[in-house]
């Protein structure tokens, strides 16, 4: 997947976890927690969704990379480079 596709996938996961949030105004460079109502359980869900959908394992020490959209995409890029995004 390209970074843009990875971004779309993360947005898809976020809309699943927090359906009441308006994601259209998301600032990629600002931490998710400062823009959205997400707690630590929600972050865990992001990790779990990535595992469920793409079989990506993210160790606990790497959770820090999921703070913002840009850091998340940068972190996932090498892991998801060779994957295909399914048509949704």
């Amino acid at each position: 997947m390209s970074p843009a596709e990875i971004r779309e996938e993360v947005l898809d996961i976020l809309s699943d976890i927090a359906p009441d949030e308006d994601l259209s105004q998301l600032d990629d460079n600002v931490r998710f927690r400062e823009q959205l109502e997400l707690d630590s359980m929600d972050f865990l869900d992001i990790v779990m969704e990535l595992r469920k959908r793409h079989r990506i394992q993210i160790p606990e020490d790497d959770y820090i990379n999921l703070a913002s959209m840009s850091s998340t995409v940068a972190f996932l890029e090498p892991l998801m480079r060779d994957m295909q995004r399914e048509n949704v």
Binding site: A18, P19, D20, E37, D39
Partner: protein, 328 residues
């Protein structure tokens, strides 16, 4: 071999089952009773539906609210606010001989009532509310601080203190006389700052959604399957033996049977740790069916917390039941 066996098909067991099954664990919930619900169950008698335990939901916030325990719970279980069909309370009351305080799902109501009945305490009440809002329920910092001590240092009128403690003790204290400041803050927020409501169809609607979701995610539910003992090896639970002697294996066992009972089920011969002894208080409940609407009898309060004295006593009674205080 299951990934997780959960003991108890009450709300916590079902919720845990949903979360684990959602993330593809092979989950089995074991329930000793013939039906689900545990401490918050339901039954039908002579053509009427009754709920056991839960009669009102705390933490009721309007649909669309993103913060607070209800919103979080719905999000984590992938349920919608509409699924519970919550009917908000009309309004409740704390009734002591010297004063009455009304409260409802608008937190200003209680604030105004306090300001009217205890004008000298209006500012203190605001300060107490700010402290309560500031309490971080995820930190252990104030876990053991006495609520009576903290509240007593902010509010001066003893009657007001007793009146605020009454509902919160009923909802949240298994301990005599006092509760801890953390618990007090959590209950205060749940009842006075958020709100009360009831699924109009009763708790069975919530349970129906939970069990349906759990099964749809591939979870297994075994009713009439009480646990006889938990097989322990090297300090780890490795098997679950049912009352019919059937043996089930799982990588993890999660129990909603309570600390004492769960420890008792473990077959490694370790004595139950007495520092976590069972609570000393319990409720006695009576249900009456009337042939008139409560409003016809002049009663319009959803819940009434009453006490027959200026002082609220919360302790193990000397006789069968302490009826000086209660919840209607």
């Amino acid at each position: 071999m299951y990934d997780t066996i959960i003991i108890g098909a009450g709300m916590s067991g079902l919720a845990a089952g949903i979360r684990l099954a959602y993330y593809e664990q092979r989950v089995c919930i074991l329930e000793r009773h013939t039906t689900i619900g545990g401490l918050n169950s339901f039954y039908r008698l002579r053509g009427r539906d009754y709920d056991v335990g839960l009669h009102a939901l705390t933490n009721v916030t309007p649909k669309g609210t993103k913060t607070g325990p209800l919103a979080r719970l719905l999000r984590q279980l992938r349920l919608r606010w509409d699924d519970f069909a919550i009917a908000p309370q009309l309004g409740s009351e704390i009734a002591f001989p010297g004063a009455r305080l009304k409260f409802d799902n608008n937190d200003r109501t209680l604030r105004d009532e306090v300001a009217w009945a205890f004008p000298h305490e209006a500012d203190n009440f605001d300060r107490l509310t700010r402290e309560i809002i500031a309490y971080d329920d995820l930190s252990e910092e104030h876990a053991n601080q006495s609520a009576r001590e903290v509240v007593g240092s902010i509010l001066r009128d003893p009657l007001l203190v007793e009146m605020l403690f009454c509902p919160l003790m009923f909802y949240g204290s298994a301990r005599e006389h006092d509760t801890d400041w953390g618990q007090f803050s959590i209950m205060f927020r749940s009842i006075f700052l958020e709100g009360l409501g009831r699924p109009a169809a009763g708790v069975r609607l919530i349970l129906k959604h939970l069990v349906r979701k759990f099964r749809a995610l591939g979870g297994e539910l075994k009713l009439r399957s009480g646990v006889q003992r938990l097989g322990v090896e090297n300090g780890r639970v490795t098997s679950v033996v049912l009352e019919n002697d059937e043996v089930l294996e799982a990588r993890n066992v999660v129990s909603s049977a309570g600390w004492c009972e769960t420890m008792r089920l473990c077959d490694d011969g370790q004595p139950v740790v007495t520092s976590r002894a069972p609570g000393q208080l319990t409720f006695c409940e009576t249900i009456a069916a009337l042939d008139a609407q409560p409003t016809d009898l002049g009663h319009d309060r959803t819940i009434t917390f009453f006490n027959d004295n200026d002082k609220f006593v919360w302790q193990k009674p000397d006789d069968l039941c302490d009826i000086r205080s209660g919840v209607i």
